[in-house]
């Protein structure tokens, strides 16, 4: 496990995030079940969030909250970048909204076709 200790923490997060993006994309492209495709999308989404957060990390940094633990004078040298965190917060909420709409489409397709397999919906296939 020594090589893990040598690795920078943000690199681990970055690699996991990139891995999740690939797994999610694979799921979206190959799965035939709509629910599994939505799970793939969620994985892709989470992977992107992890990559964004890891990019904002500064070596040895802590949460960008300036109180007794991080006094104002040391703020610029001890916190991580707050901007990617704020963007990820936005991205999580939007991902949630998109997932909710996708799931409701899945419900509608199931009601109409009594199946969740995308192969059954041939009229939009080219």
């Amino acid at each position: 496990m020594s090589f893990l200790a040598d690795m920078q923490i943000s690199l681990i997060v970055l690699c996991s995030g990139l891995g999740l993006i690939l797994i999610g994309l694979w799921g979206i492209l190959t799965q035939r079940n709509i629910i599994r495709m939505i799970v793939g999308f969620s994985l892709l989404d989470t992977g992107i969030h992890m990559v964004m957060v890891s990019i904002g990390y500064v070596t040895g940094g802590t949460a960008p909250i300036i109180n007794d633990a991080v006094p104002m004078a040391e703020a610029t040298s001890r916190i991580v970048d707050p901007v990617p965190s704020a963007l990820v917060l936005t991205a999580i909420v939007i991902g949630l909204g998109v997932t909710a709409v996708m799931l409701s489409y899945a419900v509608r397709i199931y009601r109409a076709r009594k199946t969740l397999m995308i192969d059954e919906c041939t009229e939009s296939k080219w």
Binding site: L18, L22, V58, I66, I79, L89, I94, G97, V101, S104
Partner: protein, 246 residues
């Protein structure tokens, strides 16, 4: 077959790009100029201890307004897609098909332990959600997180007591009023302070206390209520049974 090869090639090429990215990655040792400005000026300028909140609510407040709008549109979309007026047609469909199978799982009541635990824990979950969005400017958390916690309380309620009724009108009114108040505060910022969604329309207060950071706690209360009720409405829409009109 050819499709599988193409998918495989796409993923391999993407992996090659990612590998290159990860190999050349080096951790930052100092803040970017923009983050440096926020860290240096943020607390004095806006009075918010949590810099992420300062960025989300004020510096990039317009993004957050867009975010709230996207969430509203998706909630409206879910409501449109799963609207109850189609209930009758669906019931007829069900009668033809697998009705017994569909209803067997739905009407099974939750156990007494789950019901009692819900009655005990639900007020605490909601109280915690309110705590999270009230303290968004001081500690990790904020309107969206607090709203999500409140919605998880609703989820809890729907799982344990599926027959419980959530007033559609009350949800819609709270949601619209808080969304409207959020925009009104934003416009007040244009009139009384530096620009749209400027939090300095009220005094900044003592740094680090609950009533500080100008309008940020107020904005987060409205955002928290809006998100909480919106997500509750979305969860309610996904429920199987119809529990009365509006």
């Amino acid at each position: 077959m050819i499709k599988r090869i193409v998918i495989f090639l796409v993923l391999v090429m993407l992996a090659a790009i990612f590998l290159n990215l990860a190999a050349n990655y080096s951790e930052k040792t100092s803040l970017s100029p923009l983050a440096h400005y926020y860290a240096e000026q943020g607390p004095a300028e806006l009075g918010a201890a949590n810099l992420v909140t300062a960025v989300v609510v004020t510096y990039r407040g317009l993004d957050t307004l867009g975010e709230v709008t996207v969430l509203f549109i998706s909630a409206a979309g879910v409501g449109l897609l799963l609207r109850r007026t189609r209930r009758k047609a669906d019931d007829e469909d069900l009668e033809k098909g697998d009705r017994a199978e569909e209803t067997a799982g739905v009407h099974k009541p939750a156990s007494e332990i789950v019901e009692t635990a819900t009655q005990l824990l639900l007020p605490m979950v909601i109280l915690f959600g309110i705590y999270v969005f009230l303290n968004g400017h001081l500690s990790p958390g904020g309107g969206f997180q607090g709203g999500a916690i409140i919605a998880s309380g609703t989820m809890f309620l729907l799982l344990a007591l599926p027959e419980s009724h959530i007033s559609r009108l009350m949800v819609a009114m709270t949601e619209s009023l808080s969304g409207f108040s959020y925009v009104v505060i934003g416009v007040l910022g244009v009139i009384l302070a530096g620009g749209f969604l400027d939090n300095r329309i009220m005094g900044l207060g003592t740094y680090g206390s609950l009533f500080s950071a100008g309008a940020i706690p107020l904005i987060y209360v409205f955002v928290g209520l809006k998100v909480g009720f919106e997500l509750s409405a979305v969860l309610d829409r996904f429920r199987k049974e119809d529990t009365g009109p509006l």
